[in-house]
Symmetry: C2
Subunit: 351 residues, 2 copies
């Protein structure tokens, strides 16, 4: 869920115009998603609205706090190099729990199936969910299956929600970044988005490139043991740029990053150049960005690099205090560019 | 989720036949749903499968137990007499928590929107969710929105998952029914299914009939305070018959009920006669059936009748010990009929 920067000062939005309709960009995870959330959904929810805007909510469950999160998965095609909708559905939700410092325990799974879907396809997807669940140390505690008529869905959609254990006072928020923090990225960006796009459009990058879809709870736990982490998030829809904009806004700080330091695999860079995409906005499903106490950055980085999903971890920038709520990129040629959230929709149905 | 009677003795199922496909009946909540679950989903999930088969799972969340449940809502049309997809999405999940004796706390909400959906429709649905959430005493803690291309979904689908607080040792399972228990139904059956069908097909029953969609957590809490409840479930997809079959199987008991005692509103009875439906299989969204200690039945019934959603509560039968896992109906003309789960699909997309 994108982060409304000034929810504290939230006031009555402009009324809906008659005839306004949902567009694909409302699902981008960028500006239009934020607009839909703040202009339609939150005002209509009123007192029943969420009380925070991190990857997971914190819910008082009696005797302790639990992390709680949800995501629907509509990726197309269902199978792509390095993953499939089942692996995404488990990893994405596990990661949302891990990003607030929770230990993922159990997921729910809601299928919406299109009449006519081969049972063998469902079987393959569920086997992939099992594998990802076992890797993450979670199980599927509860589920539901609905079927709609042929032509009323697109193969299958999956919703997973997740519950995680939170140690009291140990939760991490996107609002925790502080001046002086070092910003660490766990690896190269854009693999997931380009792998899916390539499989969808038959662009033929498949042999070179795999989605990075992976559960990050082990990596996150290793980081939290190694030092002080102030904020953490996995840059999925909307990419690294949108995630950094969210954290800058939520924490009221300035994020300064250096383009040269951001790892991008060669096939992703080539595809982005060919297609006119900015890799900063391309989705990832197995990367995280963390804002850590400067004094602990070395220890945290070292811990990350010993972990399977953190081998390529690097420092990509620092936090300053002004201009507040801004992300500034020192470009390859030495200029400075202000980075904004994804404005429209680049790659629909990427997760 | 339907209840596999002998999951303890679960063994390798028949392999999938090539070419087998999803049919609408797989979403019925009856026999075909059970088949999909036990023959495809559970074997593929393996060690990552659910550990119980009640309306909600029990998850150890550190410092206590939480109830956890999920449901996707694909009802068509989105608005019908007495409710809409938003009210259903909140009430259905609240009820699944309440049916195991939990106090609902928070829901998640995942939207899958079809490109082109009027924002005013979304606004109306979300306002209805707010109203149902406030009535139930829950809030929407976390959410997600995805958009798919025009023609790839049908307006909007909603998934809600829910977390509830469970007092240690106070959970209620569908496996708890005992010989001698009195079976109480909270009110008339079939209103929801017939109201939705009527709105969908323009049959013109609308003026007479409203969906019963309602949150039952208040009613359930009043019942638990009044006496000993051994098992409880809300008969949604698959209707009262399927729910009683599930509990009979899960508890290994015989359910004996009397057709004359089951309340059915006149327009529902008329519609069922006209359309050839058995009201025992028609979906409800605001009713519960409870198996209670015989000595407490009077107190529980009295408590129910003082509650808005239990005014019509009646005793519909008793539990005996043989034949095990069977539901027997004493019919209006004095015969006995063995009642089975819904075999196919009667009303697709009823919730």
């Amino acid at each position: 869920m994108p982060t409304p920067p000034n929810f504290e000062n939230f006031s009555c939005p402009l009324p809906l115009q008659p005839g306004e309709r949902v567009v694909l960009g409302h699902g981008s995870g960028g500006k239009l998603s934020y607009d839909l959330l703040t202009r339609v959904i939150l005002p209509a929810l009123g007192e029943a609205a969420p009380r925070g805007f991190d990857d997971s909510a914190i819910v008082e469950t009696g005797g302790g706090q639990s992390a709680f999160t949800t995501d629907s998965y509509v990726v197309r095609p269902l199978f792509f190099p390095g993953g499939d909708i089942g692996r995404l559905a488990v990893c994405g939700t596990v990661n949302d729990l891990a990003m607030i410092g929770a230990e993922p325990i159990a997921l729910s799974c809601g299928f919406v199936l299109e009449e006519g879907l081969p049972l063998a396809t469902l079987d393959r997807v569920v086997r992939s969910m099992r594998e990802a669940a076992l890797e993450s140390g979670v199980y599927l505690a509860t589920g539901d299956t609905k079927v709609v008529e042929k032509g009323k869905a697109d193969g299958l959609f999956i919703n997973t929600s997740g519950i995680g254990r939170l140690l009291p006072g140990k939760s991490i928020s996107g609002g925790g970044a502080k001046k002086g923090d070092v910003i660490i990225l766990s690896g190269a960006i854009g693999d997931h988005g380009i792998a899916v796009l390539s499989a969808r459009e038959g662009l033929g990058f498949e042999t070179d490139l795999q989605s990075d879809a992976a559960p990050l709870n082990g990596l996150a736990a290793a980081m939290l043991s190694a030092g002080e982490v102030h904020a953490m998030r996995d840059p999925t829809r909307g990419g690294l740029a949108t995630t950094l904009c969210e954290i800058a806004a939520q924490s009221g700080v300035c994020v300064e990053m250096d383009e040269r330091s951001i790892p991008i695999h060669a096939p992703v860079r080539a595809a982005c150049e060919m297609l006119g995409f900015d890799p900063l906005y391309v989705a990832n499903e197995g990367k995280l960005v963390a804002f850590v106490a400067a004094g602990d950055a070395g220890k945290i980085l070292a811990a990350m690099r010993t972990h399977k999903y953190g081998v390529e971890a690097v420092v990509i920038g620092r936090v300053t205090d002004a201009p507040r709520s801004q992300v500034r990129l020192r470009t390859l040629i030495g200029g400075t560019r202000i980075v904004d959230m994804l404005p429209g929709e680049m790659l629909p149905r990427i997760c």
